[in-house]
């Protein structure tokens, strides 16, 4: 088994507000998706969610406001999963609420193993 990082990217849209019910339902979708991966014993690390505060440092000590790599798109978090191949990892990422519900993308990246 190899390990892959699933990186969550969303457009940063602070003007969009969700109702508590919507948020409850979002949370359940995320938990169900991660629970489903964990139930296959393929969740290597439940990762972290990243907040939207951030600065980006550029060469020459230039600090830009905000964590954005591209305009308005930010990385909101990651998890690490176990899969045989990048295709299997991508297949597992298909169930991610960001992909299912729209509103974001999941980047699937292999982790370079340190031992052999």
């Amino acid at each position: 088994m190899n390990e892959f990082v699933l990186i969550f990217r969303t457009d940063y849209l602070p003007e969009v507000k969700f109702s508590p019910d919507e948020m409850q339902s979002m949370m359940q979708h995320w938990q169900n998706w991660m629970g489903g991966i964990a139930a296959q014993n393929k969740l290597a690390d439940s990762g972290n969610r990243l907040g939207s505060n951030g600065n980006t440092l550029q060469p020459g000590s230039v600090i830009t406001n905000g964590p954005y790599a591209e305009i308005k798109e930010i990385i909101t978090g990651y998890i690490i999963i176990r899969a045989e191949s990048i295709d299997e990892a991508a297949e597992m990422a298909k169930g991610c609420p960001l992909v299912v519900g729209g509103g974001g993308q999941v980047e699937v990246r292999n982790i370079v193993p340190m031992n052999g």
Binding site: Q31, M34, G35, A38, A39, Q40, N41, L43
Partner: protein, 413 residues
């Protein structure tokens, strides 16, 4: 109390206390000597009391005799004395007069310290349970053999190897340092949970014995709660979980001793008192910042004590299983989660999730798929149930699976 029940009663209550205190004095390498002295004491009690009648205070009599036997042993068996003294390294003032303190406080402390010594990660889990039953619970070898569906020789060998291993590892009978308690106690809790499960899920037909195993596991867990330094939120969560499970003890077997599945249980047989106790310990567990797997399992068990079967119940259970699996994977949690998925999102969705689990060698996996396919695709259901029958080992499991296959056949006609 009837006189003929007195000795078994005292044996169950006092054997473990005296053994723990003597074991603590002698050190783990001589734990068997402690067990032997206490066994001899009971033998002497049976003979003497039979001849001369009961003493005024039988417990005090046992303590005095055991204490004297231990002192005699230390005094007259100079080789043994030397070994004990060398290994325990008493300070010089204590060298010749080793104190044997059978006060309530010391009994309690010795038992807890013994619990930490026996539940040592260096010996196999099965041996930890066996030794716990013998030394912490005062079970006879015969009873342990019945509980494990084994025989006396095998159990004796297993306990012997476990004692040797403890000796080899030079395990100390003492409280772990405060900073290590959280870590060391995890292994103790795992063993207590396994001990409970041994009683709850044991294949042995002896219902009284199984009930005893569950009660003993609960009693030992309660001892940890009574002691300040081990009274942690997750220990309360474990006891809560045990109470909730135990509340269904009478409902989950029928008068013939056969297993009754959760959905088919007579909820009037659920023990309200134990459910209330479970709620009490769950509330006590709700302090601090950490949510342990025992918290989640206790919360799942709590929802199972709710009688109605609405969607909210299963939605809550599903979310708890999601969290539990994210903390720690186990095949049984994965299967139970899938069952909860079927209750919330229906069978088709659950089948899709189940087929990703990759638990083909697990009979419960095939039983679950058999249940999920039951009405959706009876032919597939039959395939899975047959596979489950092939993989299952206990007679009780086979009986349940055969029952399901029979029902399936009827529905096809």
């Amino acid at each position: 109390m009837q006189e003929k029940e007195l000795i078994p009663h005292l044996y169950r209550a006092e054997f473990r206390k005296i053994t723990a205190v003597l074991g603590k004095v002698f050190g783990i390498a001589h734990i068997e000597v402690a067990e032997d002295i206490v066994s001899d004491t009971f033998l002497l009690a049976a003979e003497t009391w039979g001849l001369k009648g009961l003493p005024n205070n039988p417990t005090a009599w046992l303590y005095t005799v055991a204490k004297n036997k231990a002192k005699d042993m230390l005094k007259h068996d100079s080789i043994f004395n030397q070994k004990v003294v060398n290994e325990i390294k008493y300070s010089s003032s204590e060298l010749h007069e080793i104190e044997i303190d059978l006060s309530g406080k010391n009994i309690q402390d010795s038992q807890l310290q013994m619990m930490f010594a026996i539940c040592h990660p260096g010996i196999p889990a099965e041996a930890q349970i066996g030794l716990s039953l013998r030394i912490l619970c005062g079970f006879g070898i015969e009873e342990i053999a019945v509980a494990f569906l084994s025989n006396k020789e095998t159990i004796n060998k297993r306990l012997f190897r476990a004692r040797e291993k403890l000796k080899e590892l030079n395990v100390k009978i003492e409280f772990p340092p405060e900073a290590e308690i959280n870590k060391r106690i995890q292994n103790v809790l795992t063993t207590l949970y396994l001990l409970f499960n041994e009683g709850y899920y044991s294949a042995t037909r002896d219902k009284v014995l199984r009930h005893d195993l569950c009660l003993e596991a609960m009693r030992l867990t309660y001892m940890l709660i009574e002691n300040e330094s081990t009274n942690k939120p997750f220990v309360n969560a474990l006891l809560s979980l045990m109470c909730f499970h135990a509340s269904r003890f009478d409902a989950r077997t029928n008068p013939k001793g056969e297993l009754v599945l959760y959905d088919e249980q007579d909820t009037r047989l659920w023990d309200r008192q134990l459910i209330t106790r479970g709620e009490y310990y769950l509330n006590k567990a709700a302090t601090g910042n950490e949510i342990s797997k025992y918290h989640l399992e206790a919360a799942i068990a709590y929802w199972h004590t709710i009688k109605n079967n609405d969607e909210e119940k299963w939605e809550k259970i599903l979310q708890l299983y999601n969290k539990l699996l994210i903390i720690e994977y186990s095949p049984i949690a994965a299967l139970n989660r899938t069952y909860a998925v079927s209750k919330v999102y229906g069978k088709e969705k659950a089948i899709e999730e189940a087929e990703k689990l990759n638990l083909n060698n697990n009979h419960l996996y095939h039983t679950l798929l058999g249940d999920l396919y039951f009405t959706v695709d009876p032919h597939k259901a039959l395939e899975h149930l047959n596979q489950s029958l092939k993989l299952s080992r206990s007679a009780a499991d086979k009986k349940i699976i055969t029952g399901k296959i029979r029902k399936l056949d009827l529905e096809k006609k």
